[in-house]
């Protein structure tokens, strides 16, 4: 039986936000751990030659309706950010830094950033917004922001992004259950089947 779900996420991605509101419950129902792994979606796009779905105008228009339907389906709040798409480089580096400091606070930090960006409309690409979210998650914001300038943190974000690409990722959110990859908030049912060994 699979022992964990890996969840590659970027705060900039609205469908990753939706998945982030559900993935821990999926793990709990199946009795497996969920490992949250920050990566840089822009780096994935660049590596594989993909681009944001929002680049296509009719798809972007449809996605606005679709995101609202998913939020209602899950019973979670969602508001399209006026800052979309943000450059999430500092944000994702901060998540890598937080993960080194404390796993539980890292998870709270990720959820805080998601709420700030996808419910409250905050531009979470800035050091100020990142520090503020980190403080509220129990971390020391100033320390986390300082760490984003460290080469080891930069390298770790690159390594996580390259790992995802090497394993087949081309977008976000991306899940792995052992060797099997699943792409998209709309594949959580397959992720759940996979961890239950029913796929």
């Amino acid at each position: 039986m699979p022992h964990e779900i890996e969840f590659f996420f970027d705060i900039a991605s609205p469908y990753s936000y939706l998945a982030a509101t559900q993935i821990d419950a999926v793990g709990e129902r199946a009795g497996v751990a969920v490992r949250w792994k920050p990566f840089l979606l822009g780096g994935v796009f660049k590596a594989v030659g993909n681009q944001t779905p929002a680049a296509l105008q009719p798809k972007a228009a449809w996605a606005m309706r679709d995101l609202a339907r998913w939020a209602a389906h899950y019973g979670v709040e969602f508001s399209m950010s006026a800052h979309f798409p943000i450059n999430s480089l500092t944000t994702q580096r901060a998540l890598v830094a937080a993960r080194r400091v404390d796993e539980a606070m890292f998870r709270e930090f990720a959820s805080t950033l998601y709420r700030d960006h996808w419910i409250d409309g905050v531009d979470v690409s800035t050091p100020e917004a990142v520090a503020d979210a980190a403080d509220r998650a129990g971390l020391t914001g100033a320390q986390i922001v300082e760490m984003t300038a460290e080469q080891a943190i930069k390298d770790e974000l690159i390594a996580l992004t390259e790992e995802a690409v090497d394993r087949g990722a081309f977008g976000a959110p991306t899940f792995f259950v052992d060797g099997e990859m699943f792409w998209g908030n709309d594949r959580l049912h397959f992720v759940e089947q996979a961890v239950r060994g029913e796929l």
Copy 2:
């Protein structure tokens, strides 16, 4: 309450095949009619500047696994066609022609083409394969193929494709429930909620 589901489909699209195996049951459960509307997916892509998801190598590789999972989920047969992607111009014109001749036979013709292409691996882009499928669906294959050369049939396929684009389509399958558009086999649950008035 909505009175029908419109189902825009192209035989060349594997996710449209999957949706085609389910959409009539969705309509039956909700007590509404399903109107099958052939369009030219290549024409949609050209009009909106989109391209087949299969153009991106890692996405194509993932889709092979994903399609198999959906087929298993639905309990239907599926085999990736070695001819993918076919030029479905003659195929889709033949469907427009068949719809003029007889609605019930048109529906059987569509299902026959889908089975030929996505289960039995037949290249259904040729006049011979189209005629053969039409004959088995109760139509006169030679007549259907002849009709594909008529300007009125060509114009109707263009009009159906333009209609979908004008209403916001950018891919396939595309569904409409009154004014609301849904894209993708993976949105059938929202289509069903919409026809039940629960969305």
